[in-house]
């Protein structure tokens, strides 16, 4: 493996110049390389939106499915072949809006997958409508008087559900974000990494500078195993904390809970049909 392992040659991305997605793509490639994950052993599952196009732009197996529906196939892929590294990656609208129900239930199941959410607090591909994470009062061509719904807080929701790994990062900080992503991918169990990211075209409020000014990193003294403390941090909104909020290493993964994988991690495609047992079952009908 080398620096080119993840390159797919010249790519004409669908992203605006200055979009945080470029930086996240770059961070992703570096992270995977440093973790020595082979492209053939990686599956990136995404939904629809600008962020969801990310697997198109680097070397990996990918399942670029439906809007909001990355988590169900990602879960199924992991449990059907536990030997694969599975990342579910999309934007805030996809994961928290259209796919909100799956977000809740993926946390409950706790499969060993990493859920990366590009959170720019606005809809990009459909051109500038509010997202579930848009701030109160955020004006758009549809929310003409400003957003009146409470913004969705993925971090506090995940901690409330006792997600096994909960973190927030910022696309503008390559080094720190890489370190958070590494921990998330190496974590055994469901890991959510919400990545703040500026949208240079449709979000003139939450800009690169805004994120710089309104965030800070949880420091070394912070204890990420304390769920109550983590929840307190997650609802702090004068200044928004970045880093790993919460880790629960005591939870079994979905795969571990399945009877099937308690002996070994044999992928389902190696299953052999047991016709003798079917015959026995048929005979039970007598």
């Amino acid at each position: 493996m080398n620096e080119k392992t993840y390159d797919v040659g010249l790519v004409n991305t669908a992203w605006c110049p200055g979009c945080g997605n470029h930086s996240i793509l770059n961070i992703m490639k570096q992270t995977l390389l440093e973790l020595k994950i082979k492209p053939g052993n990686l599956v990136v599952v995404s939904g629809i939106g600008q962020a969801a196009k990310i697997p198109q732009y680097f070397k990996t197996n990918y399942f670029n499915g439906l809007h909001g529906r990355a988590l169900p196939p990602a879960t199924a892929i992991k449990i059907s072949n536990p030997n694969l590294t599975v990342i579910a990656e999309s934007g805030d609208g996809d994961m928290y809006g259209e796919g909100g129900n799956h977000f809740i239930h993926a946390i409950r199941r706790n499969p060993d997958i990493t859920n990366i959410v590009h959170n720019n607090m606005v809809y990009g591909l459909t051109k500038g409508q509010a997202s579930p994470t848009s701030e109160y009062g955020f004006r758009t061509p549809i929310q003409i008087n400003g957003v009146v719904s409470e913004p969705f807080n993925p971090i506090s929701t995940a901690i409330a559900l006792d997600a096994s790994f909960v973190a927030r990062a910022f696309s503008g900080d390559i080094k720190k974000t890489k370190s958070i992503l590494k921990k998330a991918i190496q974590h055994k169990g469901y890991a959510i990494v919400d990545i703040f990211q500026p949208c240079v075209t449709f979000n003139k409020i939450n800009t690169f500078d805004w994120f710089k000014e309104n965030t800070y990193y949880l420091d070394d003294s912070y204890n990420s195993t304390d769920r109550i403390e983590a929840f307190k941090k997650s609802i702090q909104n004068d200044k928004l904390p970045l880093g790993v909020f919460y880790v629960n290493k005591n939870k079994k993964t979905f795969e571990q809970n399945l009877k099937l994988h308690q002996q070994n991690n044999k992928p389902l495609f190696k299953n052999i049909v047991k016709f003798d047992k079917i015959l026995k079952l048929i005979s039970l009908g007598t």
């Binding site: 197996n61 990918y62 892929i77 059907s80 048929i282 005979s283």
Partner: protein, 565 residues
Amino acid sequence: MDDISIVLCGEAGQGIQTVEKLFTKIVKKAGFNVFSTKEYMSRVRGGSNSTQIRISSKPVSAYIDRIDILIPLSDESLEHVKKRISKKTLIIGEDKYIKNSKTNNKIEIPITQLAKSIGNIIYSNTIAVGLLSSICGINKKILNNTIEEYFINKKKELVKNNIKAANKGYENCLEQINKDKIKTIISPPNKKNDNIILNGVETIGLGALAGGCNFISSYPMSPSTGLLTFLSKHSKEFNIIAEQAEDEISAINMVLGAWYVGARGMVTTSGGGYALMTEGVSLAGMIESPVVIHLGQRPAPATGLPTRTEQGDLEHAIYSSHGEFPKIIFAPGTLEDGFYLTQKAFNLADKYQIPVYILTDQYFIDSFYDIPKLDIKNINNINHFIKTDKDYKRYKITKNGISPRGIPGYGNGLVCIDSDEHDEEGRITENSDIRIKMVNKRLKKLSEIKKEIIPPELYGEKDYKILVIGWGSTYHIIREAIENISRKDIAFLYFKQVYPLHNETINYLNKAEKTIIVENNATSQFSKLIRQQTGYEIKNKILQYDGSPFSVETIIKEIQKMRES
């Protein structure tokens, strides 16, 4: 008489199902052929439910209106089935439940009192089994042995009491028979019956196992849930992942994820749940993923009649999901077809990388009867995924439209799939030349699929003048009706594959002087499909959409009417 119809009617939660299960086992052991079906309300307690058990010395597998013996188990029972009670119907039961019967053809047996004497009214069901056994002339040994087997995992005392209860019912009834109040209506045939008893959902489940199904994800919905239950029950033995999803959208997307890495997955659902899955079905069309869909129909729109039957979702299955892509729809009408078609569905889905449907309904799912042991000697499964090489392209343009399907983690290539239009490598494109190539590639698979459409099957006279057409679960009902009519000019054409239609269809239709379609829906969806595909319009329609299955009598009556007109 060598064919009697017994109906038990009572409230939900009274345990009629126990009687059904136990008694069908007993009569089969005694050598009879047996059929049973139930209709029930969408509630857990109370209301009125009924179960029909047909017993005969010949194979029986269809619902009839006629009731020879009625066992009412609640105040509402007589009212609930009153349209089906005739002067000949023998009514047996507690005084309070039978006293309002207008006929004199009734026998009072104090079931509750007998049950209480054994210690609990819970034994009423076994008492009913006992009395039915004596009417059918069943050897007491068979009765006792079957009860013992049935309750094998229960406490000894419970087994003992159940046997006691059955014997009380048996003897009490025998006394009445000896008083000549009941003429024994039927006696066991002089043959051994080595058949197996299954219901519709069990054959679909067994077919899935035989087809190599190792992944099911679904959301419970009547009447389709039984399949999820069946595969969950056997998940450990067969290395199956059975997951109850948070909703049907998740269910089908999970199954597509499972196929993507080489598993063989299916969903089970009914109309409303399937409606939620339709975007996922379209995704299967675009990414060219196999998927097997069991769609157990019930009356709609919306919640409709949740526990009843209808063939109202044929068009829903064909035309649901945006965009143009091939699919296959099977509609089994017999338990054997349920098994073999489901097994086949997995292989066709895998071969053509398309959705394949098993379209059933509540009547098919909930009906039991005995059939010869399913033969699995000639069953074959072929995994169509390949080991990829370095330059693998998931959507390689090929002559027949089928691109070899690789799976991640098997070989040296990358498997890239996209719900957007894509090029051979699976990368997004808006290039119109590639778009046209990809649409053509996906549709080209249809000509391959057409080479192996299952032809419709003809029953009755080859030189027919009248042709009755049916599909799916109405099979045995129509067939018994045709056999009853027993005229030389009539035949029945049965479709077990309803989509795409077989080329021979038009020839069968053109040969008839009169064609009659039978459908459990209001708008005759299958005849519309036939007209669209062949130009032939079937003018005579027997349609029923009250939530109940056709009875043999209804079909006979309607065909006679149409024959004369």
